[in-house]
Symmetry: C2
Subunit: 357 residues, 2 copies
């Protein structure tokens, strides 16, 4: 697709109203990403500094560093997380048909992850890490989430078993059945995981599915800028990222310039801006969408993930891009109003109250 | 002590103001109980009925039953729990010196339990379950907490590694150092655990420490009524329980009658009555204490545990029994206002606002 990228129009299959079993795409969104349990604690700003973390970012850490940070955290709450997993949980909460591809270990955190994503209504065929005879025993991945008083989150992730995903772990029949394959950039750090995502992209395109991609994190974009640009130009139909991630991807200082660069790609872009809302870029220009007002922002973890959930649910159900963005804002507003990155209130009701469903 | 029980006066060592290292009792409360991770989910009333659970009680279940119930629960939040563990976490949150005795497994839930209780400021030397060559591999215990819309909780506990505690697992030097040894009735079901508690009681009495006991649960009282009565008469200085537990212990229909029976024992009794507050019975009669008003009761899990925390902190810091009960009410009110059985707000500040510290 590389050369005709500027001519490409975004063509996402939408629900046809025909019975599910007769549809070539009975799943709205198939997510692929890291299977993580979030370990959440509130901390003060000094702790973030002392631990050498950069506020508002996600840092990948090895087990020793993760344990060192964990030791400095106060009492924690554990709740299922993982960026793309949060998104498909949100799609399911809106009534969409969703599946998830990711790898866990055979331990209590793995059980919790599998239980929670299934209890959210998401199809999950767990790939389980097998250390083999000589291999390293890895636990289910965990994301240490340090929430400061301003509700901002700083994350240190030990991916554990999630790093071991390979192309052989991808249930291709699941990917074939999806209208949209949604990938998180976080997984790009591991070569086998990258190959697994590339394989899934091929299968999705071969079956006329669309590919959506989340830039995940500014550091993640820095590490893979060139590859992400190639991927976006060649294979991505819908791109998600916040202001800083977009600027780093296109190597510019301001979101407006990033959007100008993105326009040449001819894809659908949703750039989130926290409380300032989001900007949606389509073939016919860009539209600014307000954020939903929130009484008290408790924890911004999952805001981008749930924005993507609303957006993708809308996209696969025939909403126009601006309405997709508004639905994204409704979902993001719910998830920032409590601790944890999975929705707790009835998203369908909230979407109806906003006149969107 | 059995025969002169009616003459016994409650004699709880209090802080002397001397340096900690010089005190024979540098610890205010040493708790002993089950080490559990609470797995919390909101459910509707029909689910409780369908699962054959009795609302407001705790049922001990084997692994297969626990898994069956878990499969019916929606997305969950995991947070450290365990009745006596919640109590010592509360004592530490009030600024008291507390330790905990309990057994975990070497798995992620065990890590979470150990981390959280230490992060709460409680001394915890983990006894870790070792399956040995032929033994059963048990995970860290978990308590499935099903919270209904009225904030009432119904619990199904798989004790796992917590059941394997034996007298050899009790760090006697820790028990020696405590002003109060606090035991939960829940652990009475396992014979080795019962022996471990009896050993701890001996050591506490030998070192002039007081023994406090929580009746834990009406079913638990039913199972061990005779033994609990003997234990209370012979070895307990402070008894905690709610209305139903007290009535079942003394085999009477009304709390007033239970208190009359308790009066003969000459011990300190704190009977909790949910939103109706509590009644404290001393050698000189009984006093009714109001509950603290709460804006919104979210989850009653841990209410009794935190009541005991406030009460025991008060008792070891020279407060009179009525003030102890008021401090208990302050702590209980905090914990019912959010999901999870460990305090999240500053208990010292809340106690000061109530004029108690």
């Amino acid at each position: 697709m590389g050369n005709d990228a500027t001519l490409r129009t975004v063509n996402v299959p939408v629900q046809s109203g025909q019975p599910e079993e007769a549809s070539p795409h009975p799943l709205d969104v198939v997510g692929m990403g890291s299977s993580l349990v979030d370990v959440v604690s509130t901390v003060d700003d000094e702790t973030i500094d002392r631990l050498g973390l950069e506020r508002g970012t996600m840092m990948l850490v090895d087990l020793a560093v993760a344990e060192g940070i964990y030791a400095e955290m106060g009492p924690t709450v554990e709740v299922s997380g993982g960026s793309a997993a949060n998104t498909v949980a949100g799609v399911a909460a809106l009534g969409g048909a969703a599946a998830f591809v990711g790898k866990i270990a055979a331990d209590p955190f793995g059980e919790v992850f599998a239980h929670d994503i299934r209890a959210a209504g998401v199809e999950f065929r767990a790939a389980v890490h097998d250390p083999g005879d000589a291999g390293e025993v890895l636990g289910t991945g965990r994301c240490l989430v340090l929430v400061t008083a301003d509700a901002d989150r700083t994350m240190a992730t030990h991916l554990g078993a999630a790093t071991t995903i390979t192309p052989a772990d991808v249930p291709l029949d699941l990917v074939e059945r999806g209208r949209v394959l949604y990938l998180e950039g976080y997984l790009w750090d591991m070569d086998p995981a990258k190959q697994a995502m590339r394989r899934a992209i091929e299968v999705a395109h071969d079956h006329d599915g669309a590919v959506a991609f989340s830039l995940s994190d500014p550091f993640c974009v820095e590490r893979h800028r060139r590859e992400f640009l190639d991927l976006v130009a060649a294979d991505v139909d819908v791109l998600f990222g916040n202001e800083e991630e977009m600027c780093r991807l296109f190597d510019v200082a301001r979101l407006r310039e990033a959007l100008t660069s993105a326009e040449d790609l001819g894809i659908l872009v949703a750039a989130t801006r926290g409380p300032a809302g989001s900007i949606v870029l389509t073939g016919t220009g860009h539209t600014e969408i307000d954020a939903m007002p929130v009484d008290e922002v408790v924890d911004t973890t999952g805001a981008g993930d749930l924005y993507a959930a609303g957006f993708l649910y809308g996209l696969t159900h025939g909403l126009d891009p601006a309405a997709c963005a508004r639905l994204g804002s409704v979902c993001a507003a719910e998830v920032v109003s409590h601790l944890g990155a999975r929705p707790q209130k009835d998203l369908v009701e909230l979407a109806r109250d906003a006149g969107l469903l």
